[in-house]
């Protein structure tokens, strides 16, 4: 039937589908494709292949060499990408609301001309944040993934259990970088790195003092896997992608003794 054929064609070339945009934009930021193979830097993610591909004209696919594995997305990945985008959008709305709420009291105060101190801090907050928040979806998603790698660690779990948010002291306690603030790529990556290093202080089996369970978790790339093998095989499923992701996005993460040393230096600087 003509309608169905028309439908098939439409289904094959959907230029304005959200998910296609999301997929290709997102995948540019990844070093590796969904199957783990290294991705060429200029490779473009093709829209999801319709399974009725027998009639699909090859002309409107991107002129690319073979490798259906790297082109065809599986549903699992697609949905994860959707979820990531949706979470980031939701976070952005919440963040915007929070910023706006912070502004309201200020308007009242302008009339009564309160202390300049509080006005200043609010002003700077307003100008640095409200007009200038990061809104590029690809960037937010990339940053969120880096944050997720850090939060998906035993160290982070231990940290949030030990130190409730209101007890956190700036400088001493690691603070998750704010993905909505405008930073250069380098600045952001560095903040993430420092944050992760600081979190190491809460790694479960430590050298000095605390309970000796198995082995140190310092080299996230390697040792995470090993530790999980010892602990519980199921964790590997959820944590493994994390660790492999970590070793990719933070190239220098394989320092063994360094974190401790860095921590000590910071401590002395503090005091």
């Amino acid at each position: 039937m003509s309608a169905h054929q028309k439908y098939r064609y439409e289904n094959d070339c959907k230029p304005d589908e959200n998910r296609n945009k999301g997929a290709s934009r997102w995948s540019h930021c990844r070093k590796r494709g969904a199957d783990g193979s290294l991705r060429k830097s200029h490779a473009v993610e093709e829209p999801v292949k319709c399974s009725q591909s027998s009639r699909r004209p090859k002309s409107f696919t991107t002129p690319e060499s073979e490798g259906p594995v790297s082109r065809v997305k599986n549903w699992g990945d697609e949905v994860e990408a959707e979820e990531m985008r949706s979470n980031v959008q939701r976070d952005m709305h919440r963040y915007r609301r929070r910023i706006l709420e912070a502004d309201f009291p200020q308007r009242d105060r302008k009339i009564s001309s309160g202390s300049s101190d509080s006005r200043d801090s609010r002003d700077s907050k307003e100008s640095s944040v409200k007009g200038d928040i990061e809104t590029d979806e690809a960037t937010l998603i990339r940053r969120q993934k880096q944050i997720n790698y850090g939060k998906n660690t035993l160290a982070y779990d231990g940290y949030i259990k030990e130190v409730p948010k209101h007890m956190r002291q700036p400088g001493v306690h690691p603070k998750t970088p704010n993905k909505f603030k405008k930073y250069s790529r380098r600045s952001w990556d560095q903040q993430i790195k420092l944050w992760r290093v600081k979190l190491h202080a809460w790694d479960p089996p430590a050298e000095e003092g605390s309970d000796v369970q198995q082995i140190e978790v310092i080299d996230l790339g390697e040792i995470m896997d090993f530790e999980l093998d010892v602990e519980c095989s199921v964790d590997t499923e959820s944590k493994c992608p994390t660790s492999s992701g970590v070793s990719l996005s933070l190239a220098e993460d394989s320092f063994t003794g360094t974190p401790k040393k860095v921590m000590k230096i910071e401590d002395t600087e503090m005091s």
């Binding site: 439908y7 399974s51 599986n74 699992g76 949706s86 199921v234 959820s238």
Partner: protein, 222 residues
């Protein structure tokens, strides 16, 4: 507790060992092989009509449980990828067994209904679901009461959601249904009745007027 779980998730048709596996997956997902669990669920939903229409629920619960316990989504990923495989092979499945095909469609639609991402339906499933429904609206399928029945069931359950996701495709689908109703001669009268009802249902904004409800669903008394 035991029986209510069975009833709630409609897992009575599984053998006892598998029932146990599923119950453990619901309570302690980290302790089971979630890939195996997803396969077990998909396999069964292709065989069991009742389960295929309700499996979304147990899947949803396992996903939530896993996310809460381990922050992972192994189960969801495996489920979706397995589902995708079955979807790709749907034409062969249809040739082999109408019942399996119909179960597959019910299952995919049920998953679409239950597994939402931040309360939004999964966009990745929209086209596959439409693909299935379009297939059911082809003339060879319309001849077959089993398939028409499946088609209208899905539209009753998720039609309005699907329409929101893509109005144009829904319009096209209904063009086919209208054509089928009017022009196709080899439809059974039940098939025709089902089509007429769904046409009215959508025209009424995905609900039946009272008179239509009476017409289609009340007992005829002589």
């Amino acid at each position: 507790m035991e029986n209510s779980t069975k009833e709630e998730y409609k897992i009575q048709s599984f053998d006892l060992e598998t029932q146990k596996l599923l119950k453990t997956a619901l309570k302690d997902p980290g302790s089971v092989d979630l890939e195996k669990v997803s396969n077990v669920i998909v396999d069964q939903s292709l065989k069991d009509q009742i389960f295929s229409r309700e499996a979304g629920r147990i899947c949803y619960t396992i996903i939530q449980a896993e996310a809460k316990q381990t922050n992972g989504n192994v189960f969801r990923r495996n489920l979706l990828n397995r589902l995708q495989q079955e979807f790709k092979a749907r034409e062969e499945t249809r040739k082999r067994s109408t019942q399996e095909w119909v179960c597959l469609v019910s299952f995919i639609c049920n998953i679409f209904d239950y597994l939402k991402v931040n309360n939004i339906p999964m966009m990745a499933l929209v086209h596959p679901v439409y693909d299935c429904l379009f297939r059911l609206a082809q003339s060879d399928a319309l001849q077959n009461e089993e398939e028409v029945d499946c088609l209208v069931l899905q539209l009753h359950r998720i039609g309005d959601q699907l329409e929101k996701m893509n109005m144009q495709l829904m319009d096209e689908l209904f063009n086919l249904l209208r054509d089928g109703f009017l022009l196709q001669e080899d439809l059974s009268s039940m098939g025709r009745l089902l089509l007429l009802e769904i046409l009215e249902f959508r025209a009424g904004g995905w609900t039946l007027s009272e008179t239509a409800q009476k017409y289609y669903y009340s007992e005829v008394t002589d």
